[in-house]
Amino acid sequence: MTAIPLIGGSVGLACALALSSPLPAAYQGSEGDLLPPDVKIDWFGPAKTKAAKEAPKAALRKAGSPELLKKLLGNRRATFLKVDRYFLPSHKAKDAAILDSEGGWLAFVGSRFQAWFPKVPNGAKAQAKARMLDLTNESAKAFLLPGLCDADSRFFRSSSDLRDSGLTLATPAAASIALWEKGWEDLPLTTGITTLFVPAGTAATSSGHGALVGLSLRPLMLQPKGGLSYRISSLGSRGTNLSRDQVVKALDKAFEAAEKYKEAKEKFDKDLKEYKKKRKEYLAYYKKNPMKKGAKAAPAKAASTSRKGGRRRVGLTPAELAAIRKLPREQQRKAMQDLMRKKAGTAQAKPAAKDPKAGSKTAKTSGKAPARPKFPKRVPENPQYESLLSVLDGKDFLRVEAHRAGEIRALLELKKKHALDKLVIVGATEAWKLPEAIAKSGALVLLRPDTLPSRGYDLLSEHLPAQAALLSKADVPVCFGSAGRREAGSLPLMAARAVAHGMSETQALEALTKTAWLASGGQGNAMVIFSGDPLSPDARVLCVLDPMGLRHAGGQK
């Protein structure tokens, strides 16, 4: 495909989002950090213009005023895009997804979305200083939606890295992500996928935080510390001799230990506070009541005193050394030791000599001396527990690969026991056996093509979508991950198959955008315009709007 230079300027993405299907409580409401606010990431810093600051929050649902239109048309930096339809999901349960068939003009200034206008008069269009781009034509309907998200990608990581069995929960994928790796370049323009979640590992029982990468002119690290991967299934796993049951138990125990660790940490924090308070008192007392002669020195400057009972290293002058060297060889060592001991003695004696004077001044004011406070026992920092704590605190998603119904059931129990807010069941081959339980628990399900029931047959093309349809009928939020590089290209087609099996189109589009963001712990920031319905086979990506600009695929139709 050749690139057709179409427009320039940086059109940053901002979108107001809404949705129709209900989501479990864990994904709604006040978790502000989970999903971004309505008007989104600005890659070029805070809005500088007054108009940008005043941009209405849910602007897409409300047409811009004629005044704003006039103003924007006169702005050289503004870009108007005309589309036929758009799909804009939101994380708010009550909001309906905007799936509008009317279309209209979307206005951007620089990188920021400004307003939506159903119509721009022809006369105004001709005189406009802003760039006007009509992406609609008769043969195809331009369809705008957020860039699709692959919730389980294999790009930017080497396969040996992913299969490393020595990973721990504390290993972040971000540490070994090779953003300069090639192969992804065609993805946005051929499939509309602009966001990838890259897990830390795929084979180890526990591997660390994944990362969310945005595909733009170059890959951007959107979220270096995303969901935490864990793996129950023994399907192709390495490095562990544990049975499934043991793996689940190990996770349970890890959470228990993490909870204890948290308690210990909290106790330490509390104790430390106490200690600081007491130490202050202690020091204050001895400042007022200096020590009597011969008394043990107060640790006035605890940090500066040497470790072992005030013993200090003492150096010898060259003259002394020369004198020692003159002695017979057998005596040299002893002479040196004697001399050093002697010098050390005098060094210690010096500060002690000053004490009596100072002591005599305050000796009369002494009351009862406070006990010397003891430093509380430190809790050694454990990065693995820290990672688990981020899950327990509801900051990060726990993504657990589980396939058998029993594994999934155990996982749901675990979720309940530890009150885990955010859980993604990855793979979930047998999730169709217990859709209600999953729906009730509020876990997400990530389906990916490698979780096939048997190796002999390529059931990929039907198993995954049939499962997706079934689960979403039971109100389980479903998203898709490719678990491969080549497979990434066919994610939209898999969603189309799910529609064939009874998933609604809205749900299918949400599975590729919103739910995938949820499972990845971050949101992409690009918009994609398809020629026609994104799920139909003859749809092409017309252009991709992302923080770095607008790229045009030059697709036919």
Partner: protein
């Protein structure tokens, strides 16, 4: 008499096998027609290269020579040519040589299976069928000034098959062929018998339980095949050349119509090769000839050309011991010597191998001849390539320095008058890292 003037090379009639398949001939004719047609279409293509020092294929570099290219052929090489109607390329200060000719390569052979090993004697099998025309090593060769190459069958059989001389670049494989089915590969030494097994151990079902398994056996295989062919040629009965292309090929060799490219590395193999040539009256060219320094006089006396193994390579098959000055010694002894990069030897680019030979005593002019005009003559394609002469293909390399300098690089390589490698142009390599370049960025 100058050994280079000796009439060792095939005459024009020997260029294609006499018993070629009729439809092949038709194909060749059709090809010729299309080539001619292509040439007439580009009648306006007149190119004048001037200002450079020119090596025409013989002798030293000459100042002030200009080259006029019309329709992909060299029309004239001389001084003060008329630049009328032609594109003038000023290459002042540069060095021009003919496109280099590599007399033994495995370019385009993606597989290691370049021999049909179910039989030790497959003299009629053409290697052309196994050539991937766009293999990357063709491009690499072109980038170092090699415009014509002989692609040889592998050396795992006693009689390996027929090679092909082709251009390293061009639109279609069929148009790149200079001479097909030329040079019968015959391999002496241990390599030809190496796949065969003895009866000790192993699986007796294998087709590899067969002769030869020794050096003597290899030579006997050659002799017996030639005896059989000779007997058939003599009797003329019970032999239909149409049905038995193997024998047909061997008879062509016996008749002296086909050069037998004899791979001989060690001294005993080289002497065997000379003996076989004398015994059967076949016209041979010694391939590799790594230990030729031991039998210089015999080789010179037999008037057999040597396509010498790349001098920079230290490890040679058959445990042949390399001497760095072999090529110089051969040239001094009056042997016609060309330099090859060989098959899978890990050689440097051809021009660097020539520099290597110069480093160990070969005169500069001889070194350049050994990679241009001499291999073209040995291959029987000197009327097409290898020199800058009137009527030859315009395969021209413009070097930035003296080509024998280790820093030299081709600035432009013309194949058939077309600039097919531009060393000055920015590399059109795909962006390997998005850090360096950005794909599909469009801005107004």
């Amino acid at each position: 008499m100058n050994p280079l003037r000796k009439p060792i090379l095939p005459d024009a009639s020997a260029k294609s096998l006499p018993m070629i398949h009729p439809h092949k001939l038709a194909l060749g004719l059709a090809l010729g027609l299309t080539l001619g047609l292509g040439a007439s279409l580009g009648a306006q293509d007149r190119l004048l290269l001037k200002g450079a020092k020119v090596f025409t294929g013989k002798g030293p570099f000459q100042e002030g020579l200009q080259i006029l290219v019309v329709d992909g052929k060299i029309q004239k090489v001389g001084k003060d040519l008329s630049a009328e109607n032609s594109t003038v390329v000023d290459v002042s200060g540069k060095w021009i040589t003919p496109g280099l000719v590599d007399a033994n390569t495995s370019l385009g052979l993606a597989t290691t299976h370049t021999n049909e090993q179910s039989n030790e004697t497959t003299p009629h099998i053409p290697i052309l069928d196994a050539i991937d025309p766009r293999a990357a090593n063709f491009k690499r060769a072109l980038g170092m000034g090699v415009t014509s190459a002989y692609v040889s069958p592998g050396g795992m059989n006693v009689f390996g098959g027929l090679g092909v001389v082709l251009k390293t670049a061009g639109p279609q494989l069929s148009e790149r062929i200079i001479l097909d089915k030329t040079g019968l590969r015959m391999t002496l030494g241990a390599m030809a018998s190496s796949g065969n097994r003895s009866f000790r151990g192993g699986n007796p079902d294998s087709m590899f339980y067969r002769r030869p398994t020794s050096r003597m056996g290899v030579i006997w295989e050659i002799r017996s095949q030639f005896y059989k062919a000779d007997a058939k040629r003599a009797s003329g009965q019970g032999f239909d050349p149409e049905k038995d292309p193997a024998t047909r090929t061997l008879i062509a060799a016996l008749d002296g119509k086909l050069t037998v490219r004899t791979t001989a590395r060690t001294d005993q193999d080289i002497r065997t090769a000379l003996r076989l040539a004398e015994e059967f009256g076949i016209r041979i060219a010694i391939d590799e000839g790594t230990e030729a320094y031991n039998s210089l006089d015999q080789i010179a006396a037999a008037g057999v050309p040597v396509i010498a193994s790349p001098p920079s390579v230290s490890q040679h098959p058959d445990r042949a011991e390399r001497h760095l000055d072999t090529i110089k010694l051969l040239a001094d002894a009056g042997v016609v010597v060309a330099i090859q990069t060989g098959q899978g030897l890990g050689a440097l680019p051809l021009i660097r191998e020539a520099s290597f030979a110069v480093r160990y005593g070969l005169p500069r002019e001889r070194a350049l001849e050994a990679v241009t005009s001499v291999p073209a003559e040995i291959l029987g394609v000197s009327d097409r390539v290898g020199s800058l002469k009137e009527g030859l293909d315009a395969d021209i390399v413009v070097w930035d320095l003296n080509p024998l300098s280790v820093f030299s690089r081709p600035e432009s390589v013309y194949v058939g008058g077309k600039l097919l490698h531009d060393g000055k142009a920015k590399k059109t390599k795909k962006v390997t890292s998005p850090r360096r370049g950005t794909p599909r960025k469009t801005r107004l």
